[in-house]
């Protein structure tokens, strides 16, 4: 598979770097993502996936390098980027002390969706995520899977060109995971949304993603479709084997105390 040229790409980075004190979290990243696919950044905790997503969503300024998302520069034109993207962080971003509908209403207003369209869009979003009957319940009464689906509804309410999801199914049971995958696939198919997810879960990478980049210590160690990546190692190879070969490490290992704590926090809150 040929990498897309930067002008057709929805996401393209050039030398994108982020340094935290003495830690190089993302190291001169070169990444291009073509439109209308589900793209996975796969790697263990601490590989730089979340840092990459935070820079692409304009939450974190890069230490060096540049990136364009949905046609705009993340440093020079952050507001234009923000108007065209949706983001579901690894942590729980829905407000538990509001109802599902109130959460969606806030997003609709912040994104400038015209007042006359707000209610119909909110209703459509709830329906698409299978939450129609729970719209007026406080989110703190929701199950983990329902919260994630609400967060997806919230992130896509304004019909973003690109959706960023940081570990979207962490802490969810297998059925809730399937439901999230199903909705994302449907969203990509119907709306043509480009979806970038981070994951350290091989099954998620294989089932959900059209294309993968294996990330290790701040750089991309390999890239391709799940099938191509596996066949490059051997006939019965798994993504874990691919990762071991290109990065010399395991998907399970790695991460600082802080990474692990945040991951477990998110898992506990959604579980």
């Amino acid at each position: 598979m040929h990498p897309p040229t930067p002008d057709t790409a929805v996401i393209s980075t050039h030398g994108l770097t982020r340094r935290y004190d003495d830690l190089l979290a993302v190291d001169r990243l070169e990444l291009t993502v073509p439109p209308e696919i589900i793209f996975g950044l796969l790697g263990p905790n601490g590989a730089g996936k979340s840092t990459t997503i935070k820079m692409l969503t304009t939450l974190l300024p890069p230490s060096a390098g540049s990136a364009r998302v949905a046609g705009f520069d993340i440093v020079a034109e952050p507001r234009q980027v923000r108007r065209r993207i949706g983001y579901v962080p690894q942590l729980v971003s829905a407000d538990g002390t509001l109802t599902a509908r109130e959460n969606l209403r806030l997003s609709a207003r912040l994104y400038g969706i015209p007042r006359r369209e707000q209610s119909s869009r909110i209703a459509a979003g709830l329906e698409f995520m299978g939450l129609s009957s729970s719209g007026d319940q406080l989110v703190k009464t929701f199950s983990g899977g329902m919260i994630r689906r609400l967060e997806l509804a919230q992130a896509m309410l304004h019909e973003p060109a690109v959706l960023f999801l940081d570990e979207p199914t962490i802490g969810l049971d297998p059925i809730a995971r399937r439901a999230v995958w199903d909705r994302l696939t449907e969203l990509r198919r119907r709306a043509g949304t480009t979806i970038l997810i981070t994951t350290h879960d091989m099954e998620e990478a294989e089932v959900l993603c059209d294309e993968l980049a294996l990330m290790h210590r701040g750089v991309i160690a390999a890239r391709g479709t799940p099938a191509v990546l596996k066949s490059s190692v051997g006939p019965d190879a798994t993504l874990e084997d691919v990762f071991a070969q290109v990065a010399g490490g395991s998907l399970e290992a790695g991460g600082t105390f802080r990474d692990v704590r945040r991951t477990r926090d998110a898992a506990r809150r959604l579980g």
Binding site: R82, L91, L98, L106, F128, R190, D265
Partner: protein, 274 residues
């Protein structure tokens, strides 16, 4: 479920003029915050306990001491505006804890990836804190009325008090937000909150007049924004009460302070998501 599928992504929603957008976004944040008011009924009770203690216990006892010169006012009448200002301060100064909580979850990340002005996100919080502060006003008015304080009930005075309570609440809540943005963790924030409240209260004209204080303390009290909240309330709330600092200065200091704090907070707020 399939009928509600979203359409093709669109470029972006149209935007209005910046001042209009700023106000609309601020009000959206404030509206969401205010939805939460009243969902916890214990909050009203906890907000009423401290002012009741100060007015009923402290106020009644000190009325008998007659050591504090309060002019034509009884001591409880002198004290009531001070206690309103104090309860506004105490309710607002821990406002930042909610922001730290939102950061530990991921709510702030969600707000900050939206195209909303960073200033509007902060302004919305300040507006909601201002409206919440009105609860303190109602509680203290009820207590003061029960204690026989001669309150000014003309519409002009009531509107003025409501405005100053909102202004004071917004001021201290934004200050609290700035502290939260700087310390980032709940433990440190609680420590600093507790260290700040008592000095702000005692180094003000809330429970004794400025001219009773030693000179150095008068200087501190004049630099303390709480003194201006108290002074404003004292003239607007109590029949026969008067301002010693001047109403223009009272409003000026608070508005200027709020604007400066909002500017600082909107610069610091995005740091919470990093």
């Amino acid at each position: 479920m399939t009928s509600a599928a979203p359409a093709t992504p669109r470029a972006a929603w149209a935007e209005g003029a910046p001042p209009f957008e700023f106000l609309r976004q601020s009000l959206a944040v404030a509206a969401a915050e205010l939805r939460k008011v009243g969902r916890d009924p214990t909050e009203l009770f906890t907000r009423a306990v401290q002012p009741a203690l100060w007015l009923v216990v402290f106020g009644q006892v000190f009325s008998r001491v007659r050591a504090i010169p309060t002019g034509s006012l009884s001591y409880v009448e002198f004290l009531a505006p001070g206690i309103l200002a104090q309860s506004v301060l105490f309710a607002a100064i821990f406002f930042g804890i909610a922001v730290i909580w939102e950061r530990d979850l991921g709510v702030i990340h969600k707000l900050l990836v939206s195209p909303a002005y960073r200033g509007a996100l902060v302004m919305g919080k300040a507006i909601s804190a201002g409206v919440r502060g009105l609860v303190q006003g109602i509680i203290v008015y009820a207590l003061a009325f029960a204690l026989g304080v001669r309150l000014r009930l003309d519409p002009g005075a009531l509107v003025g008090v409501a405005f100053s309570v909102m202004l004071g609440s917004a001021l201290f809540a934004t200050f609290s937000l700035v502290v939260a943005c700087l310390v980032k963790t709940r433990e440190r924030f609680m420590g600093i909150g507790q260290v700040l409240t008592m000095p702000l209260f005692f180094a003000s004209n809330a429970i004794y007049p400025l001219d009773m204080m030693p000179h150095w303390l008068q200087l501190v009290a004049r630099a303390n924004p709480l003194s201006y909240v108290v002074d404003l309330l004292r003239s607007l709330m109590i029949a026969g009460g008067h301002s010693t600092l001047g109403l223009g200065l009272d409003f000026g200091v608070q508005i200027l302070g709020l604007v400066l704090l909002l500017l600082v907070a909107s610069k610091l707020y995005p740091g919470l998501a990093r």
